[in-house]
Subunit: 335 residues, 2 copies
C-alpha cells in the first residue's frame, strides 16, 4: 500500500486541525456548515477514505467475522457462506473464510490465525477429525464470540445452531419403511460428531419402533467427496446381506453412491432406494432425481449470524442459545 491521504493531510492543506477534519467527515453537528462543506469537498476531491484498519485499531474492535468450515467448495458450506456474506455486508462486517479440510491440525492452526487477527467473532462448523475441542475453548477464553453451526462441539458452552438431526434421520427412515423397505442402511460420519451420532440414533430409533432387524452403519471418516461415497457403495454392495435402502449423510456421499449404482447397473430405487440429507440444488437433477431431507441452510445462516451479532454486541452478558431447525423431506424418485 502506497501513501494515501489522511485526515492530517487534509488538515494541513486546509490550515485547520485534523480533529476538526475528523469531526467534519463524520458529520459532527458542532462543526460550522461552511468549514464542514469545505472539508468534505476537499476530501472527496482527493479521494479520501477512512482507514478502516486504523479505525479498528483505535476503537479496539474489528469489522471482520471469521467463518470456519470443513470445505468451502461443498455446496452446504458455500451456500452458508454466501448467505452470511450478504448479512455481514448489510451490517458493516467483512467475512473472512477458512477451511479445515476435515483436518484437526489445520483447524487448530486456523484458530490461531483467527485469534491473532482479533476478529469480531467466529462462526464455525468443526472438522470430522476433531475430537479434542480445547482449541475452541481457548478461542472463547481469548474473548472471541463463537457460534457453532451444523457440526458443533457439544462440550463447549456457546451458541449452537443445528438441524434436528435425530428427527431428520428418524423421518427419513420412517419414510423408507412406509414404502416397504426393510433392510435400511446408514452411510454416515464419525460418531463423535453430533450430526452423525444424532442421525444414527434417529435411524436406530425408527428401526426399533418398527421392529426391523437389519442394521447397517457405514462410516466415512475422510473428506466426504464423491469418490468416498462411490467407494462406500462399492464396499456395501459386496456384502452378502445387501441393504434395500440407504440413508446418506451428505449430498456428495450420496452422489458417489448414485454414481456407483449407475455404473454397475444397480437400479435406484428398484435395487436400492436412497435418501440424502442435503440441500444441494443438483440433487433433483441426478438420475434418478433424488429424494432428500433438505437442510434449511439459509435459516441456519441467518440464525447463526443473528446469534453472533448478539454475542458481539452484548459481550459478557450474552447467553448461549441452542437452536434447532427442521429438515424437510422432499420426495422425488430415488425412493
Amino acid at each position: 500500500m502506497e501513501k494515501k491521504i489522511t485526515i492530517k493531510d487534509i488538515a494541513r492543506e486546509l490550515n485547520i486541525h485534523h480533529t476538526t477534519v475528523s469531526r467534519a467527515l463524520r458529520g459532527d453537528f458542532r462543526i460550522k456548515e461552511e468549514t464542514k462543506s469545505k472539508i468534505v469537498a476537499y476530501a472527496k476531491e482527493k479521494g479520501y477514505r477512512v482507514n478502516q484498519g486504523a479505525l479498528n485499531f483505535r476503537n479496539k474492535q474489528s469489522n471482520e467475522i471469521a467463518l470456519l468450515v470443513p470445505n468451502i467448495s461443498h455446496y452446504t458450506f458455500s451456500n452458508f457462506i454466501s448467505r452470511v456474506s450478504d448479512l455481514a455486508q448489510e451490517n458493516g462486517f467483512v467475512v473472512s473464510v477458512f477451511q479445515s479440510k476435515e483436518n484437526y491440525e489445520n483447524e487448530k492452526e486456523i484458530l490461531k490465525i483467527i485469534m491473532q487477527n482479533r476478529v469480531a467473532g467466529v462462526i464455525a462448523s468443526i472438522s470430522n477429525s476433531t475430537i479434542d475441542t480445547s482449541h475452541f475453548r481457548q478461542l472463547i477464553d481469548f474473548g472471541v464470540p463463537l457460534v457453532f453451526f451444523d457440526r458443533v462441539c457439544q462440550d463447549i458452552d456457546t451458541s449452537k445452531v443445528m438441524i434436528d438431526n435425530f428427527k431428520a434421520a428418524f423421518e427419513a427412515v420412517q419414510f423408507f419403511i412406509s414404502k416397504g423397505y426393510c433392510r435400511i442402511g446408514h452411510i454416515t460420519g464419525p460418531s463423535h460428531i453430533n450430526v452423525f451420532s444424532d442421525r444414527h440414533k434417529g435411524y436406530l430409533s425408527a428401526l426399533e419402533k418398527s421392529g426391523l432387524d437389519y442394521k447397517l452403519r457405514y462410516e466415512v471418516s475422510k473428506e466426504f467427496e464423491i469418490a468416498d461415497g462411490f467407494n462406500a457403495m462399492k464396499k456395501i454392495w459386496s456384502y452378502a446381506e445387501k441393504p434395500d435402502a440407504l440413508l446418506c449423510d451428505s449430498f456428495t456421499l450420496s452422489a458417489g453412491v448414485n454414481s456407483f449404482c449407475n455404473q454397475n447397473g444397480i437400479i435406484i430405487p428398484g435395487d436400492v432406494a436412497i435418501i440424502a440429507v442435503a440441500n444441494d440444488p443438483f440433487s433433483g437433477l441426478l438420475n434418478p432425481p433424488q429424494t432428500v431431507m433438505e437442510q434449511p441452510i439459509g435459516e441456519l445462516a441467518t440464525t447463526s449470524f443473528d446469534l453472533l451479532m448478539n454475542a458481539i454486541s452484548s459481550k459478557n452478558k450474552s447467553i448461549a442459545e441452542v437452536i434447532y431447525h427442521k429438515a424437510r423431506l422432499i420426495k422425488r424418485e430415488s425412493v
Copy 2:
C-alpha cells in the same frame, strides 16, 4: 473485544522495556538468552498473541486479500475461493469474500468497502451487469493490486487470468459437428463480458469453418441459476427451428436445460445434445452424464494468486500479465 495482554503488559510485569519484549518475542538474536526465555515463557503462560491489526497498522500493510466473485455458492467460484484460501493460508494471508450477485451497484459498493479496508490486494471476476468499469479503475488508482480472473474488464490494464474461451467454444462446436450435429445453438451471457463474447466468436467461427447455416444465440443476463437455464430451454424449445445441439456457458444453465428436457421427454442427446463449459463435479452425475469443456479452475486460482503476490510485493514495477489456460473436453453421454 475485551482487554488482551500486550507487550507493554508483559514488560511492566517483568520490569523490562516493551521494546525488549517485542524483540524477544520475534526472536531477535541480540537479546540475552535468559531474558528471552523468561519473556517467552511468561508470554506463553499468559496466552499472549501479537495483535495483527496493530501490526498491519504499524507496518502500513495488510494481510488480507479480497476475493470478489459473482456468486459464492456457484461451484466454479467456491472452488476458486477454496483453492485461493489454501494458498493464502500458506502465505500468511487471510481471504475475505464478497459477492456481487451479478449486480453492478453492489459491485461498486463492495469495491468501496475493499478500499476502505486497505486490503493487500484483490482478485475479482466481474458481474454480468457490469458495463462501466470505472470503479475498478478507481481501485487501481487507489493503489490496490488487482488481478482479474475469468470475467475480466478488457479495458483495464492489470493482470488477467482466463481460459481460452474462443478455443473452448470452437472445439466444443467442432466436436458437435464431428458427431453429425448441424443445428447448433449457444446459450450464453451478455456480450459485453469477455467470456461470453469470446465464446460466441469461437462458436461462430467453428460454424463458419464448416459452412453451417443454423445459428442460435440465446442470452441469459440474470443470475445464471438453474431456473434461468430451465426457462431458456423452455423458450428455445418453442421455436419452429429447434437446435439439435446446445453449447451452454455455465453448469447451472446446462443443469436447467437438462432439467427441462427430462421433465418434457426431450431426449439427450437424441433430440438435443449438450456441452457445458463447466468444472462442476456433478456434471458427470446428471442424466445423462454430461459432456463438458472443463475449466481448469484450480490452475486459474493458482495463477491468479501468484500474479497477485507478485503485484503486492513488487508494487509499482510489476507488469500486467494476461494468461490463458486451456479448457479440456471431457466426453460423456450428452453428445
